[in-house]
């Protein structure tokens, strides 16, 4: 191999590595796809770990949030109300905290107690798995594991859109 060929090979490899770095985000979880299974410890040291496969057969609303994300903090108390309204009909809410350190998330929960499942993902492994492309992002997962709604961001009127989708899912199963 001549020096020139070597240089060309190296350049091609470098370009490929850079391209791969930016191309990962093309594999985000979308509506109609199966939700990837995950298992995470609870943000509370004294509560059991949360896994998606253990919730199969229920309508699951998965939300990625952090204490530094203002729209997330707006949405969580509304999700708590929704949880109490629909939990008897089979709704489960899993609000994954991506706070690092997790104490930041716990500080928020001290002031705003929430009754649904709150696992902690400080390293963002599951956010990476779902390829979350905004904060907050939430996924409505049907009892059979398919994603029927992906919702990015949160504004005041959004809870109605989400509630409608949840009602539809609960009515169908």
């Amino acid at each position: 191999m001549t020096i020139k060929q070597r240089a060309q090979t190296l350049a091609a490899l470098t370009i490929a590595a850079v391209a791969a770095n930016f191309a990962i985000s093309a594999f985000a979880v979308e509506e109609g796809e199966m939700a990837p299974d995950f298992s995470l410890p609870s943000i509370y040291a004294d509560r059991a770990a949360v896994s998606l496969s253990a919730l199969q057969g229920r309508t699951v609303y998965v939300d990625f949030w952090a204490s530094w994300c203002a729209p997330c903090l707006l949405s969580l108390p509304l999700y708590n109300e929704m949880y109490h309204k629909y939990k008897d009909q089979g709704l489960e809410i899993v609000a994954i905290s991506v706070d690092n350190p997790i104490e930041d998330g716990l500080d928020f929960l001290l002031d705003t107690p929430l009754d649904f499942l709150i696992p902690a993902d400080p390293d963002g492994d599951i956010a990476e798995l779902f390829q979350v492309f905004g904060m907050p992002t939430s996924y409505l997962i049907e009892p059979d594991g398919t994603v029927s709604l992906v919702h990015v961001g949160f504004r005041k009127g959004d809870i109605e859109i989400i509630e409608e989708a949840i009602q539809k899912s609960l009515a169908a199963h």
């Binding site: 240089a7 850079v18 991506v98 706070d99």
Partner: protein, 72 residues
């Protein structure tokens, strides 16, 4: 040697690109910290604005609207 100069430079430039990485949405917590803000202390910055206004007889121009016309 001269012929190799451009490929070598290109190689160097692209290898530096590997240091560029995307900050993912869930990693943006650090940007939200107080020490990352342009104005870490709103009270102090308001006071500085006030001093500037009284010394220069003009205000504004340091953020968005207002060109220091002294007409407000």
């Amino acid at each position: 040697m001269r012929m190799l100069r451009i490929p070598c430079l290109l190689l160097l430039a692209t290898s530096l690109l590997t240091a560029c990485t995307e900050v993912r949405p869930w990693q943006r917590g650090n940007f939200a910290r107080v020490e990352m803000q342009w104005q870490s202390d709103p009270l102090e910055s308001a006071l500085n604005d006030h001093i500037f206004f009284s010394k220069e007889a003009s205000s504004g121009g340091n953020s968005a609207a207002g060109g220091g016309c002294g007409c407000n």
